[in-house]
Subunit: 352 residues, 3 copies
Amino acid sequence: MNKVFSVLVLVGVPLSIIGALMHWSSILMFIIYCLTIIALASFMGRATESLAIVAGPRIGGLLNATFGNAVELIISIFALREGLIGVVLASLTGSVLGNLLLVAGLSFFVGGLKYKRQKFNVYDARHNSGLLMFGVIVAFVIPEIFTKTMSKSDTLNFSVGISIILIVLYLAALLFKLVTHRGVYLTDNVAEDRHEEEEPEWGKWKALIILAIATVAVGYVSEKLVDTFHTVGEAFGWTELFIGVVIVAIVGNAAEHASAIIMAIKNKMDIAVEIAIGSTLQVAMFVAPVLVLISLMFPVSMPLIFSMPELIAMVTAALLMIILSNDGETNWFEGATLLAAYLIMGIGFYLL
Amino acid sequence: MNKVFSVLVLVGVPLSIIGALMHWSSILMFIIYCLTIIALASFMGRATESLAIVAGPRIGGLLNATFGNAVELIISIFALREGLIGVVLASLTGSVLGNLLLVAGLSFFVGGLKYKRQKFNVYDARHNSGLLMFGVIVAFVIPEIFTKTMSKSDTLNFSVGISIILIVLYLAALLFKLVTHRGVYLTDNVAEDRHEEEEPEWGKWKALIILAIATVAVGYVSEKLVDTFHTVGEAFGWTELFIGVVIVAIVGNAAEHASAIIMAIKNKMDIAVEIAIGSTLQVAMFVAPVLVLISLMFPVSMPLIFSMPELIAMVTAALLMIILSNDGETNWFEGATLLAAYLIMGIGFYLL
Amino acid sequence: MNKVFSVLVLVGVPLSIIGALMHWSSILMFIIYCLTIIALASFMGRATESLAIVAGPRIGGLLNATFGNAVELIISIFALREGLIGVVLASLTGSVLGNLLLVAGLSFFVGGLKYKRQKFNVYDARHNSGLLMFGVIVAFVIPEIFTKTMSKSDTLNFSVGISIILIVLYLAALLFKLVTHRGVYLTDNVAEDRHEEEEPEWGKWKALIILAIATVAVGYVSEKLVDTFHTVGEAFGWTELFIGVVIVAIVGNAAEHASAIIMAIKNKMDIAVEIAIGSTLQVAMFVAPVLVLISLMFPVSMPLIFSMPELIAMVTAALLMIILSNDGETNWFEGATLLAAYLIMGIGFYLL
């Protein structure tokens, strides 16, 4: 798998540059950009993982928690600069739905085909449920309803306030998990010290250099990718919404999808769930509010107001995950339920 | 009880035919039809139960799961043929509310008067909670919100897609429960092998013949019943909505109401809960989508779009049941809570 | 603390009378009235507590359950008489949010700074979750949606029906907790017989006399307080909504806030949770419906219809509390989550 990504990067980055200079067709370039970003993202993920092992669990957790969605953050910043607020909100929605329903659903389903009952830490499940309820439901629903009659500037002020509260609570959650309550909530299947045992793939400096180069490359390709949205959307009859919810979300999260499923097949459900739900929370409580704050520097600011279909899709997805994960157990049918929900929403966004 | 139903059938079926020929008043005929259907439904229930015992737990579970709401399905098909989409959606709502709030509420309440704490399998409770969240909340709320701005044909396409997903997941749930995970989630009070112990009331052929005749008779009477709705509604000042939510739901589910309560009094809460919540899921995930697909053959097709009061009533009822049933225990107060919710919704639908 | 309240009463009551006669500025009087009511409320609380100990746990529970929100009831009745329906609904919302998010949030947070994990009775948690789901979600959401197309008189009839059902179920909950299932659901950390051990602060007659005088005084000052709302609102640019949600709610519940936090610091989480959630349920299931019924005697009747922001704030707050409290454990981060939700809603109501 890693070899495939290496080849993809070695071929994709030059092609991205050459194709742009030679004005190849937008649709071809769109495909090249997407594949290149997926491959670069896998390098960023491996570099972050190596650094996390070197740095120890606390700093490592922080690194994973901030760099985990770096690709999506970068694509979104370029989209914001172009004023494509609808695409950004849609891709945030797509990330939440993709992680909660598609990544978790595939992990539960595939893992469940091999094992009758798979368990993960029930305390983590409850902790995550509380955060999903706060980050996805309270923090996204309240502005939607309250700003119906608000002026545009009040709406933006409210969004900024909520964004700051979200980021502070996200950092507090890291403090809780990595410092004050580290190791407090353990169950029998202790997977806590996995980091200590592991050998980093790359040394500290090699990882840092790869991370830096890959980030710059992702930035370059992302900017080009955003420029193709308009033409590609017209060619395939896709709306901004569908591009954001499905395409950007899949490209931005492809690496996570793969590793969550691999962990589920190894019966390491703690990690699979952490990737799926942890990623969701990171998007809702860190990436989204950071984008709101960054957008203040661009001509068009982005309020934290999703469209009703986006909001309701995220809310019902969060409720479904809260109920399914609450007992710290999974099986193939719970996976199938999540996938069915994703399918329903996917069709809905396509028809919108 | 069985004797009463036998007499009711022997008197009711001839009266239904004679009254129709002699053009008796619609209100009288409405009452005769309702009572006859309730009595016929009890025969269908007994025949299905006998067949289920003969066929063994797997096929038996499938039989119960598909024939359990046969009466309601038949009435609804005739209403669909008349184009009474509002009545059908309302009666589906009524079935969901009636099973979740009235049947379960009465069972919990009456059972709780005799026993301080009644327990049922907590794994079943969680499995059912996940399905309620999917079948009632995700699958019904998403189309409501997404189709606000959709064209009529897209709305119907979306409904068809969701219906197929619902039916597939319902069948997957049967596969999970009856095949792959049969007996995996057991608790102390094992009521699993009850079927094996029981003697069927009727032999295989007798049960099949009774089932066939009763189904034909229910079909005949249902068709007549639907014709009286308009006149009866005008006479009593009832709307289509109220007839559907309350009258059709009670007539269509009367047999289940009785057996759930009897099981609760016998402290067999596993079965009482299975009837109440199982029936709800069957209506939401099988009867409703099957009716959407069948309606495609009629002049007026039925999308899976409920009115807002119907939707919100089902969603809040499902949430209430999820929270109350989550611990695998019931008492009289939980029953009273469900009944209070039913009362509030009943008054609401009457005033609408 | 008690001494401060004694001084506040001895100074505040005369100042309230003198200031009213001398026509002091509305803003000064508003502050005097608020502080006096907070101090009087603490006397009512202590008198009720003494009476509850004397009367034994059953009648005591009933006393606490009916007099616990007496101050808020009294302020609201005077506001209703003035036709200030918006203020009353807003102050009910504020009480629900204040108790669920601010009182519980501060208790969990402050208690959690001292203790890593604090436990309370998980059966109480589930019982309360069911009531929150019924009292805040079913009983408030259903009329909101159902009355969208109803006539004004039907809306009022529906509100009255729901109010009666709420009061009956609230009394049934007391019967369940204090009589039929008293002591049935115990966990290890038994705090059940705390009442029996305690010495009442005041004798029966002294407590009764203090309760009577304080109630009359609260009534007098509340009437004056309501008169200042209009002027104060204009002076500070506060809307009726903000005064109701924040000011009235804090003044009316100040005493409870203090005692819940003190209990959390003493690691008596059962009592802290009981104050926070018990108070919420009392407001939703007793104070609110009683006010609807009382309003029928005034020129302007109050339907049980909140504004959308009020409703959604209460619904999401209840869902958040249900998820966080479901495991019978708290920690500082759960407190921080509740406080963050309160902050978001507070900003929202200020900007509205």
